[in-house]
Symmetry: C2
Subunit: 348 residues, 2 copies
């Protein structure tokens, strides 16, 4: 295998790699000497009560979180908070199929719960934290946020789940199966034993096109957002923006995350009883779906919100749909900041 | 090539094959001795003013129209109307890639306008019709309905477009590109030169799964409709219902229809000016999108409706989404019948 230079300090740094030791996985198997790539912003205060955790989403790294959501005067203000962005397992910077010593196609199945236990170990053992002012994440970041709030209710004071659910729906599972099919159907994928990502270029393009169909919204295209983003045609947008974004990524890494988000389910912590699991949450929780999201629908998010004591339903508007998370819609970011600022002001 | 027995009188009849002569195509080329497969119900009255035309949708034949929409006491009542269901070119019963003498992979590109001109020739020359009481269709049937109403305004007295638009959106085009990719990416497709449909089983399954994602709605799965339809798991629903439905169909036929519906655009009749094209419609028109349709969105349909003089916006409710057309939701059929009955009562 040829090293993938996309996942590097140059493209995604600065971040630090923490070895959190061997991580036993929920589906069986162990990641030996599991490494988490972590970017921090700001400083922990003396009371150690100003830490914010931000887990990452499918295909995204700590870099986009920093660039799009963190900044002076923003809700996630490094002058006020100690912000810890932890890259998920399989995301390419932390331990992932493409950088695993055992070889990529043998990488074990990883669950959201594995990530959250790994992060918990990191935050408690390496950073000495016992309390989080906020856990906030989008998409798979929201999945991890819910898992955190259910699994460690005493530690999470506030939670904000943006564009994600606590339990994946059947429809979402199907959608991600088609995404995975798009990659694995490329003969060059070869059961995960390709030499380099570019060998699987055709499959990655198909996968990017499916993201173009479901990731944005119908209105995104109707209102000519591709042109507004600088692409003369829809085809060039799909080819260059979507295709270009995913092209350098590692197929096995994407598939590791795809399986993980397909199987997200906090009710595993309570024998399948979702109400019981969400009932454990003590965090003041904002549930923040995007109204035009084609897979994490507002009504599905609201149904979960109703199961969380004292939570609030805070829908966001953007015709960018799910991929409003990318931050190309400034109005969306303003809404996110407003809600998060309000949440952080609530005594918890 | 091995003959495909799916497209037969046994499965889809009775229908008659009409040779309408050579059909010159909008994209160039000619279909020599073009055959249209036609099923009729009821009789033409003396005044020749009770004819209803029903064009077919993607993958559907005249049989499902008969089984789901036509019957004594229904809006489309053969005791009152002479109902002509014409199978679209490429649909498998009419001239299509798989039954074309020139060989399937050389089949020319066909447009909605080609179908409508072919049907016009059939109805005027073979059936001696000069007026249609109603043209009604769902999905690609709606696309043909719009094309009819714009192209032959003096002939179409009423029009009902169910779950379809007059011009395909960019998003819709992308979605159908992914559908086509799902088939053509199967190596066994071999540029269209497979020996039989079952050779392309893997591609057809991927295509069926994508239909499962976008064809129904998120709520369809949330409310457990697969179980209500008799499938113990979502997987068995996708495999057996969706996969089983598409498995016997001819890949080149599906791709012919896919290209056609992607490129649907009545504004081609007025140099790209959609308002001008829709402004030509004289038919009393009902625009009937399905509220949970994930690709033909109600708002897109309503925007077109506003461009049609005297038309009415009649949205339908069904959590079956676009595939409510299949008729598994009796409540949906009742709504369709109610609107069509009302439309047929309007003097036009």
């Amino acid at each position: 295998m040829i090293a993938n230079t996309y996942y590097s300090q140059e493209g995604h740094g600065p971040y630090e790699l923490y070895d959190i030791g061997d991580l036993d996985l929920e589906e069986g198997g162990t990641i030996p000497a599991c490494k988490l790539a972590v970017a921090t912003h700001g400083s922990l205060n003396a009371a150690k009560d100003n830490a914010i955790l931000v887990p990452t989403w499918y295909s995204g790294s700590s870099k986009i979180i920093e660039q799009v959501y963190i900044g002076k005067g923003r809700a996630l203000d490094p002058d006020r908070y100690f912000i810890v962005v932890v890259n998920q397992i399989g995301g390419g910077l932390s331990t992932s199929p493409h950088n695993a010593p055992d070889g990529m196609s043998n990488f074990p199945k990883v669950r959201i719960g594995d990530d959250v236990r790994a992060q918990h170990r990191l935050l408690t053992k390496k950073f000495g934290l016992t309390s989080l002012a906020l856990v906030v994440g989008g998409s798979m970041g929201a999945q991890q946020t819910y898992e955190w709030a259910v699994r460690y209710p005493e530690m999470v004071r506030r939670a904000a789940a943006i564009a994600g659910t606590a339990r994946s729906t059947d429809h979402f599972r199907l959608f991600f199966e088609s995404m995975a099919d798009a990659i694995t159907s490329d003969l060059a994928f070869d059961g995960g034993n390709y030499r380099q990502s570019s060998d699987v270029a055709v499959g990655l393009k198909r996968h990017a096109k499916l993201w173009a169909v479901m990731g944005w919204s119908t209105e995104f295209y109707q209102q000519g957002r591709p042109a507004a983003l600088g692409f003369p045609t829809v085809e060039s947008f799909v080819e260059n923006f979507m295709g270009g974004y995913f092209a350098p990524m590692d197929p096995n890494d994407l598939l590791c995350m795809a399986w993980k988000c397909q199987h997200c389910d906090v009710s595993r912590l309570s024998r399948g009883n979702l109400a019981e699991a969400l009932g454990r949450i003590q965090a003041k929780t904002f549930v923040m779906p995007v109204d035009e999201d084609m897979f994490f629908r507002t009504r599905d998010c609201e149904a979960e919100q109703k199961l969380i004591r004292g939570s609030e339903f805070r829908p966001l508007h953007s015709i960018d749909g799910h991929l409003a998370l990318f931050g190309a819609d400034a109005g969306f970011l303003a809404q996110v900041d407003e809600h998060l600022s309000e949440l952080l002001m609530i005594r918890a």
